[in-house]
Structure formats: structure tokens, C-alpha cells
Amino acid sequence: MQRKIIQITGMVWTVVYASIIVWIYATEPRSFKEVATNSQVAVGTYEINQERFSNGLALFRRDQFRAARDEWTAADPAQKDPRTQFYVAYAWYRDGWGRVYYDNAFFKQGLEAVNRAITLAPNGTLTVDDPDLQMHTAAELKTELEQGTETSWKDLNPLKLFRQRK
């Protein structure tokens, strides 16, 4: 009987341990801290650091986009919060926006972030009610970022110098 209990315990433990190893190799954490964050995500207890998110928002409103992104990256290290990822994308948009030309590299990073936000949002739709923003949905922001990375004859239109940043 005792042998049977040990056998069953051993089998369960082997399967659990093997699953943990597969999970570690799949998520590729870079440090013990990331292991802890990924575990929280897996268990469903993951929450962003609200204080750092607010700090990022304050910096964003003062047009300090790079610092804001750093704060949001620290607030959402696992990149699992759609709202934070939306703001990160917005920061890339505003940072890359220019009256004469858009910074393609920044817009591409913004696209990656907004795509993450859309994937994470329930039903793929995300609306952020922030009066300081001119685009409130992830879909709008995505379209704007996509248009910014495309090249067309419209880019030669001199009237674009009068366009406004959203």
C-alpha cells in the first residue's frame, strides 16, 4: 500500500515537475524576478504596479514619452495588461510623430504594442476613456500607426505640414 502511495506521488510529481520545465523553456524568463512574474500570470494573480503606471501617465502628459514608457514597462513587466500596452503604443506614436515625417522605427514598436493590447483585450476591442487623448480605441491607434508606416504619394503633399498630432 505504502509503495503504491509512493508510486502515485512520484508519478504526479514527475508530471508536475516536467510541466514546470516545459513552461520555463516556453516562457524563457531572463531572471528569477521574471520567473515570479510569469508564475503570477500563469496562476492568474498578476496585477500591474498601479503607482508606477500613474507615474508613467504623469510623465506622458508632460510629453516625456521615453521616461513614461520606462515606467510602464516596470509597471507591466509581463506585458499582459491591455490598457498599459495601449498607453505604451500611444507613447511610441507621439514620440515618432513629426510634422515633416514619421519615425518608422518608433511607429513599428507602437504597432507591436497596440497589437499586444488588442490581443489581450476581451473580444479584441479596447476603449480607454482618457480626455487627454484624441484616439480612444486601440483600433483607431492601430490604423494611425499603420498609415504612418506606409509610403504613398500623399507623403509629398505640402499641406501635411499643417496636420495635427492626435
Binding site: 508519478m11 510529481w13 523553456y25
Partner: protein, 233 residues
Amino acid sequence: MKDYTERNRALLHFIVTPTILLTVALLGGLRVDAQTSHFVFIAPPLVTLVLAILLGSLFVRAGAIDLRQWFALEQPMLTNLAHLLTLLALFFASAQAFNSVLPESGLLHWMFSFFFLWTLWTNQFSAFDARRLLKSLIVLFSTAFVLKHLLVSGLYAPEGGWFRRIASALLQGIAIDVPAFAPITGYLSFFALALYVAGLLLIAPVPARPASVDNKLAVREDALAESADQLSE
């Protein structure tokens, strides 16, 4: 007294051995980046799975694992299943042990892979017993460890000395792409290989059976012997 022996044997066989082997599977692909000190997890390349299959075949041929005793109709299904899990853990531990001593990319990766394949393939046709096989494996992994973690790492370390200068002169024009990892990677690999050898030492060719199965087998063997005697008469 007997109760303790049987319990400890079961603990060793069903819990400790798979744990050790799975720890090898975890550590075998772990590297630490030299610049950022971040973990880098390298999944076992395809060639290491092929090497693990060849090694598994070698275990069976050398009698280090008697498959007919590990999986038997007389045994409970649970025992067979537990043995299957242990052998799967051994397979992945073997693959990761190879992964641990294989250079990650470039010409050296293929050279090391080729030498491992060559050694394991020729060993398939040699006369081996379990003890000799274990000794041979210790030598094989030690050599690969020294080559990778002492020679090759030293060769491409930023602060490499005279050996690096000689090798650079000899290998001028040959691009050998070796990623730089922190020295702790070598310690992790050493620990993984030591655990792997310990795991191999714990694996018995014939797993210990509970007394009830032994009795059943003894009865069956007696019956077979009796019928053989009757036939010979």
C-alpha cells in the same frame, strides 16, 4: 527493517531518480549571458534528441536497462506507467546533458555533434556491460565538458591569454561563432553532468519489485521448471 528498506527503495526509484533526471533536463539548456547576466534557455537541438536515442539504445544493448523487466505484464499498470515516466525523464536528461556540452552554434557545434554521433554509433557494435558503459560515458562527457567550457570558452573570452593568441593565429580566416556566456554557465553544466551521472548510478538494470510480484514470478518460474522437467523425462 525490511519495511524501511522497501520504502526507501521505492522513494529512490519513483521520486528521487526522476527528480534528479528532470533537474538535469532543466539545467542542461540553461546559460547565463556574459553581458546582461540574464538567463538564456536553449531548447535541445534536434541532434541532441538523436544522440539521446542512440544512447538509450546503448543502455539497452549493454544491459544497463532491461526493458523486459521495466515493462512486464505481471506488473501493475501503475508500475509500468511510473517506469515509462522515469525512462522518458532519462531520455530528456540525456538530450539535455548533450545540449549542455555542445557549443551552441557554428562550426564547433557541428564538429562536436559529429564526434558524439560517431562515438555512439561505433559503440553500438562494441561489447559493453553496464559498468563499462558508465565509465565510457563519464569519459565522453568529461572530455566534451573540458573542451567546451575550459578550452573553447577560454579561447573566446574577452580577457583570453596566450592560448587565445595562438589559436587566433592558427585559425586565422576561419569564422568560429561561439556566443559568450558568463563563467557560471560552466558551473551549471558541471552540476548538471554530475547529477546526470548520479541519476545513471541510481537506475538499476532490473527495477526492484514488491514482494507480491516476486512471489507470483517465483511461482511461475517454478511451474515452468516443473513442466520443463516433465518434458525432459
